[in-house]
């Protein structure tokens, strides 16, 4: 079977690439190992017949970054809408109330209006305000999309501009945990992307969660006649004389001049012997645990009205694998009910993310694994109560997923969420015709992944095809 292009993985980047190719009548197939789409941003359901029946959960989505208001132009989200020919209203975006970075004795609030963060910094770090404004100007003027940039440490840049280390730690905290594959630091170009996505533009959540985004993209592909095969693991990428020619999927060989792989750079090497001879991108170390709690009622605005709390109980922010299974000295706590506070009826949900240690979880015996998960749950639950003083909801349900869960359902080696620490910024690999899209191209979050799929499909599937 011959195609114009093969896309490996039906996550955000793969679906977006598939839409672009199908839109202009390319014969494209998306091959997905799992039985459902979404990749790192998928969904699942859990049954609990005693208490409430079947509940639907998102796997990854705390927040959709890069919020824009309807009609705003020249922003990443508006580019995505135009390129995929989707309408703003279809996403049913509910903006955040505000979020906060909470360190001992000081907090910084931010929202979808950058003025809030400016006034918070000026109030809490008055001596640093001028330096912070110069940082803002530097971020504004920086061309983070220049694919020729080399690695530059964000910490070094920040230290050269801001003297109060606490402010540096606080600014870095959300940006690191919402996207850095590197420990304790990130590439400055990534910092700029994240700074714009989180602080300039902000958070929202589609009504219905990640399913809303996925079903919009699935519907689009169907309308355009694109093909998706589920439960279709690619066993190997076929190459000849330094170029890719096709894939072996479940024993069947299919051929295409262009292959876009969204499964990760090290993961792609694993199934492409000729690529593995030439490069060895390293597997990242950052992986996480997520606890999801469902209560019989929602947390009241008087108890906590913020959408996301980036919590850290010491002055230094440690972004690295937990020393001992999980690190509860910091957390991201997401209150999905606090997007655009609606009615106060119904069940309440809270999600807590901790940094984890993959190797230790890997080596646990089954019985210890379950017990360790319980420890995570009770630690996370007490944090939720601490951050929502006065809340007395009854816990109806809890679910915890570990680095092993992530690895089992996404096939990302070591359960990494932000992928390899060796990105290929332009998506190219030493095997011609084979390109990396998604997380390991280094544009982060759902919006970044979608734009990555779009831009590489454009460059190599549409423009390349003309020459």
């Amino acid at each position: 079977m011959n195609y114009d292009a093969i896309v490996i993985g039906a996550g955000m980047s793969g679906l977006a690439a598939g839409i672009r190719l199908a839109m202009f009548d390319k014969k494209v197939v998306i091959l997905e190992k799992h039985s459902i789409p979404g990749g790192l941003n998928s969904y699942y359901q859990r049954r609990n017949f005693q208490k409430g029946g079947i509940r639907q959960f998102d796997v990854g989505l705390h927040a959709l970054t890069n919020f824009i208001k309807k009609g705003e132009k020249a922003k990443p989200f508006s580019k995505l809408l135009k390129q995929l020919r989707l309408s703003y209203d279809d996403f049913k975006l509910c903006p955040q109330t505000y979020s906060k970075i909470l360190f001992p004795g000081v907090e910084l609030k931010f929202s979808n209006d950058f003025e809030l963060l400016l006034s918070e910094v000026s109030e809490k770090f008055p001596k640093e305000m001028d330096q912070f404004l110069s940082l803002v100007e530097k971020v504004k003027g920086f061309n983070e999309l220049d694919l020729s940039l080399g690695y530059q440490s964000s910490r070094e840049v920040l230290k050269s501009m801001i003297s109060d280390e606490l402010l540096i730690e606080m600014l870095l905290c959300p940006l690191l945990i919402y996207g850095s594959a590197w420990e304790d630091d990130m590439d400055f170009a990534q910092f700029v992307i994240m700074f714009k996505s989180l602080y300039f533009e902000g958070f929202s959540r589609p009504q219905g969660g990640v399913r809303t985004i996925i079903s919009l993209m699935m519907k689009k592909i169907e309308e355009l006649g694109g093909e998706i095969r589920f439960k279709s693991p690619v066993n190997s990428i076929l190459t000849r004389n330094g170029r890719s020619i096709g894939v072996n999927v479940g024993g069947e060989e299919i051929f295409a001049p262009v292959i876009l792989s969204s499964i990760g750079y090290p993961e792609t090497c694993r199934i492409t012997p000729e690529l593995a001879e030439k490069v060895s991108p390293r597997v990242g170390a950052m992986t996480f645990l997520e606890s999801i709690f469902v209560f019989d009622k929602k947390i009241m605005p008087s108890q906590n009205d913020s959408t996301i709390i980036f919590y850290n109980n010491q002055k230094k922010y440690n972004y690295r694998p937990a020393a001992h299974y999980f690190d509860d000295s910091s957390a991201v706590v997401c209150f999905p009910d606090n997007y655009e506070i609606q009615n106060q009826e119904g069940e309440g949900t809270v999600r807590v993310t901790y940094m984890a240690n993959y190797d230790q979880w890997r080596n646990l015996e089954r019985v210890d694994y379950d017990q360790k998960k319980e420890e995570v749950g009770s630690s996370a639950l007490s944090l939720v109560k601490k951050l929502s003083p006065g809340f007395d909801g009854e816990l109806l349900f809890q679910d915890i997923f570990s680095p092993l869960t992530i690895e089992r359902y996404t096939w990302h080696l070591n359960g990494t969420v932000y992928g390899s620490i060796d990105k290929t910024r332009d998506g190219s690999t030493p095997v011609s015709g084979l390109f990396i899209i998604g997380t390991d191209q280094g544009f982060l979050g759902i919006v970044g992944a979608i734009l990555s799929g779009i831009s590489l499909a454009n460059l190599h599937g549409l423009m390349g095809a003309e020459g």
Binding site: M23, F24, K73, A74, R85, E466
Partner: protein
């Protein structure tokens, strides 16, 4: 095909790929990018739509010839002849 027809073809494509843009009062001599929120990705879409709808090919080196409505008409008219 008249110049007015070619101009309308380009405008129809732009209003499909950028539905939020107002294309009613465009100045033919001023670059489209200055008047509308169009980036290089959008120009690729104009080219792809010309091919898909009208079987007109615009090679990559000729993309700059689509800068204004006037230059679009000059460049594309022979291709529609």
């Amino acid at each position: 095909m008249t110049a007015a027809n070619v101009r309308q073809i380009v405008i129809d494509i732009i209003s499909d790929i950028a539905p939020d843009e107002d294309v009613t009062n465009l100045d033919d001599k001023i670059s489209l990018r200055e008047q509308l929120d169009l980036d290089s990705m959008d120009f690729l879409d104009i080219v792809m739509e010309l091919r898909k709808r009208h079987r007109v090919e615009v090679p990559q080196e000729d993309y700059p010839k689509l800068a204004t409505l006037e230059s679009c008409v000059t460049y594309l008219s022979p291709k529609f002849a």
